[in-house]
Symmetry: C2
Subunit: 188 residues, 2 copies
DNA sequence: GTCTATATACCGATAGAC
DNA sequence: GTCTATCGGTATATAGAC
């Protein structure tokens, strides 16, 4: 594995575990087994390396989500599949987590992958809901973009509740609650 | 204003803005105008001071939420009032934010106020929903605790989406989406 | 109670040899 | 490309005078 890849992968892990402020160049070097000089040869500094790591994490998250959203079944079933995907709930979302960090939000290079990921995800789910409505499967009363934002927010907020409780239960409740409301909204 | 109060208030602000890892004793001293020796006279260290600040923030958040949830109107209207409360969305939730910080989650003293706040909030809203069902205002199909978790998650996740987009819009969409689903669920 | 001085470690990076 | 040395600054306190 190339030195750059080891650096990026270690940075991805540390950003997920400790956030941007809590991740030091030294910790990245230790986890990756790459020396100081080597790290600064390949990347100009911590923001540069973090940006590369976030771009990679964003692409991976998108691929994983797409696998569920593009699956078989009705719009409702595909959203349910996405929500019920097996997750290590207490680790949280490696992209959503970054939105809490002021240094990430303040740096366009760092915020861009985060923003793009959620824009894509909301748009993808909104499209699914619109499809379901066109097919007569879902009631037409709900606005697709608003409903999609609510679905994505339930997942992100579910992580927050789970970490606060040190238990996956609130996440699972929130997902069940959201699907319950969405199910009641299905056209008869 | 007492020295302790100035320290606690400054710590509350800094925890909200920068998180636990990103908040240093030095920054607290500068914002509060309290000296080093004085700070360490009143508090044993950063964790002690942060715990006091979080307990106070939790109590304040609870009081603000209760004002909406105990207001006039039906269960749906009171939940809508809570969701539509005027918020500085891009600042995020000062309690929910802490759930992302590994040092907070790992320290029982720091996590306790966060956990208790969300336990209380979910329970309060679940009770409201159960009341609405008993009164025949809301359909009885949805589980109150699950639905309440979804409502709270939408708010917390809405903050995440808003900060990611550097715009309040996704928050407002998520709230509208959630209320739309809840409204469709009202008994006729 | 509050002040200044001091301490050990780490942060994020640069310099220059190999 | 990788290494070691070095840098000015911060993190998180502790010590002891006043």
């Amino acid at each position: 594995m190339a030195t750059q890849d080891r650096l990026i992968e270690s940075t991805q892990e540390l950003l997920w575990e400790r956030g941007y402020v809590g991740t030091s160049p030294k910790a990245i070097q230790q986890r990756s087994g790459v020396g100081q000089g080597s790290m600064y040869h390949h990347f100009t500094g911590k923001p540069d390396l973090a940006a590369a790591a976030l771009r990679r994490s964003a692409a991976q998250l998108r691929a994983v989500a797409e696998a569920d959203l593009a699956g078989p079944g009705t719009a409702y079933e595909r959203i349910a599949a996405y929500l019920h995907r097996e997750r290590d709930v207490l680790r949280g979302c490696r992209i959503g987590r970054m939105a809490q960090d002021p240094d990430v939000v303040a740096d366009p290079q760092l915020r861009a992958p985060v923003e793009e990921t959620f824009d894509w995800l909301r748009g993808r789910i909104a499209g699914l809901i619109a499809e379901g409505q066109a097919a007569g499967e879902l009631g037409a009363a709900a606005d697709p973009a608003d409903t999609a934002a609510a679905v994505v927010a339930v997942v992100q907020g579910g992580y927050v509740l789970a970490r606060a409780a040190d238990s996956a239960e609130p996440f699972e409740r929130a997902v069940r609650g959201a699907l319950g409301l969405l199910a009641a909204h299905r056209a008869d």
